[in-house]
Symmetry: D2
Subunit: 149 residues, 4 copies
Amino acid sequence: MGKMKKATARKRTGITAAQFNKMMYENVPLARLFGFRAISIGHGTARVRLRFHTDVTRAGGTVSGPALMGLADVALFAVVLGMIGKVEMAVTTSLTINFLRKPGPVDVIAEARILKLGKRLAVGECALYSEGDPEMVAHVTGTYSIPPR
Amino acid sequence: MGKMKKATARKRTGITAAQFNKMMYENVPLARLFGFRAISIGHGTARVRLRFHTDVTRAGGTVSGPALMGLADVALFAVVLGMIGKVEMAVTTSLTINFLRKPGPVDVIAEARILKLGKRLAVGECALYSEGDPEMVAHVTGTYSIPPR
Amino acid sequence: MGKMKKATARKRTGITAAQFNKMMYENVPLARLFGFRAISIGHGTARVRLRFHTDVTRAGGTVSGPALMGLADVALFAVVLGMIGKVEMAVTTSLTINFLRKPGPVDVIAEARILKLGKRLAVGECALYSEGDPEMVAHVTGTYSIPPR
Amino acid sequence: MGKMKKATARKRTGITAAQFNKMMYENVPLARLFGFRAISIGHGTARVRLRFHTDVTRAGGTVSGPALMGLADVALFAVVLGMIGKVEMAVTTSLTINFLRKPGPVDVIAEARILKLGKRLAVGECALYSEGDPEMVAHVTGTYSIPPR
């Protein structure tokens, strides 16, 4: 972590997917239960996977709504931390989800991107896909409060 | 369940909290993991509890965002089924949450109510409270698609 | 206005309905076109009227959606300024509206209230009613950014 | 209009920008006041312009929030009618806007696209831009109820 802190000090570099996953598993037990894992974090983008498994299914073999909402929230959070660095006090202030199609019994991929990074508020959008299917399963927008630096 | 079906046939009576919990635990594994339990379902209202426990916490001893979103979704769903009866095909079409305050390390109570019950769409709102604290922790609105009867 | 400034300096008193209307008509031409008028601003609440007239109708004799959205936005803004005083730089950051019923060919009344007044963000909700009809026509939540003081 | 009806009868062709503008100006007086005009309607997309003029400004020379919300609503509506044809009874059921940046004193361009066209509900998203500036001014998602055919 010392390495990351130095980078942050230098130019507030964002965190990597590996750093994000480590922090997420330490701080948010649900992330492990849900089976979330950041695949990549770029400049203003992030991709996060939800592993399909029994705990997140619901009758009919589809993925439960709260699991999709949690996935999008994590992906948007990854986008924000990918830009401002490890700031544990950044918090979700609002989130809107539109459920579009019933996801299949496979992993879900979240593709999130920043819409605006302000000094105090970040806004992003996130598209969810069943792996291997180009049709969007859900669309999410979220806002995140950034603590004073 | 035979009794409920008869009642439904007669005048599409809504389901009770006990019936709702039974259905929820059978169909949605996450509901048990999260520790959701419907306390009461009235005419156009529902109250649902989220039990505070390790799995739903996050660093700092607060309740995780996805657990709050899931709780509100379940409470709104309970309101809808409390009005139209056991219709497993009713689905969430959209949900908006505003996070207002950091919940304390206690159970969270969701108080949901119907705003409109149409033929095809139901809309409700839900307030979340840390048990014993009158300040709202989060506010949610949700829309639910009702299948053709 | 001198009187108000003094009050603000003393204890950041919120503005009155009359002060709000004056400011609104000076700064927002649309407010006059739409026929908005704040009726009352209380502690954490506001009531604003939309006058029914040709410009805000749409085919079928109902009130146009954008007029309803504008009305709710103004009512929520009135709630915020009613609490923090005349701060022209407070801005809407997000707004979610659920349209519930077709409004009748009469004035629309917005009843807004604060859900959270933080240092940097205020959140409120607003119910819209056709005058004289207890059924809610639309439900709105909005968030407002408060400038550093 | 006879030509359009025939087309609709044949294969439910969507309407063109010219047909959309004609219908909009006839049915929604606000559209003229606001200065909305559909530029193009494609397969699942639409582009609509808000003419910058005094009535839609607010103090500081920026475009008023309700004008932006109205613009996005119209653009999303154009996307839907571009797919299902002239169905006057299609109505907005919900809309969420995130205001990202203060628009400049120029025309605003809305670029809307469909996310899902179901039998009963259509969902779309819309990005707003100040003309000539690549930074998004606001992001909107909206849902539209489609009447039974």
